[in-house]
Amino acid sequence: MQFRHKIAGGDFAKAGNVASSVKKVLRQLNIDHAISKRIVIALYEGEVNVVAHAYSGIIDIDIDEEKIKITIADKGPGIEDIEKAMVEGFSTATAQVREMGFGAGMGLSNMKKNSDSMKITSVVGEGTIVELINYIQPDAR
């Protein structure tokens, strides 16, 4: 099962739409509640990151019997130092992002915590790709 969603940078009103639709799909597939919650939280943080930092983004969702793979690819400024960006509390978010209740430097670490594997590749001045994998059977991790 595959889905593709486009996201516009700066569009805070729509941040969370993708996570919301994936949550509904996971519910229909009867995925374990705790497993599904981790997936939607990681995806939601990822969506907020694109809206907060990038110009545009594409989210690809690929669900098979064993796992869900989420690829969040954005066109944006990229991340200069990924290791530093992973440190909780480090943030380059604007005042507007903070007003929305984010931008405290917790997004990437929340995504890591809520995924079974996370891979980030980024090119400064071009964009960032975050790949998340979560196993959807309780004993598959």
Partner: protein, 114 residues
């Protein structure tokens, strides 16, 4: 404690989803930082916040939080109400501060998360 009993203690006004007021609450968390709310694994939780925007409702949706109290009579917009209705999330307005609301709720035996 039921949500209805909690509302009386904080002079709350229900904005939407009244049909769930007899549900009971076990935990409470007060925050304006949504990333912090998203770290919570516990359920059956009320969120107390001073922040009023669409992302608060989205965060509650993702975290399976079904009751939010907005402190200091923060303006709850129409888009927030429709999203809350879609997800059956109770929205409550209170004229009191986050500190006052937290204190009153804590006294009733509702447990903190951390």
């Amino acid at each position: 404690m039921t949500i209805k009993e909690m509302i009386n203690k904080i002079d709350g006004r229900v904005i939407c989803c009244e049909d769930r007021l007899s549900s009971t609450i076990e935990y409470a968390f007060a925050s304006d930082l949504m990333s912090d709310v998203l770290t919570i694994e516990k359920e059956n939780l009320v969120l107390i916040t001073g922040l009023a925007n669409l992302q608060v409702i989205r965060t509650a949706e993702m975290s399976d939080i079904y009751c939010i109290i907005f402190a200091r009579d923060k303006k709850i917009g129409g888009e927030m109400i429709s999203l809350a209705k879609e997800n059956n999330i109770i929205l409550i307005e209170s004229p009191h501060s986050v500190f006052y609301i937290s204190g009153e709720i804590y006294k009733t035996g509702i447990k903190p998360i951390y």
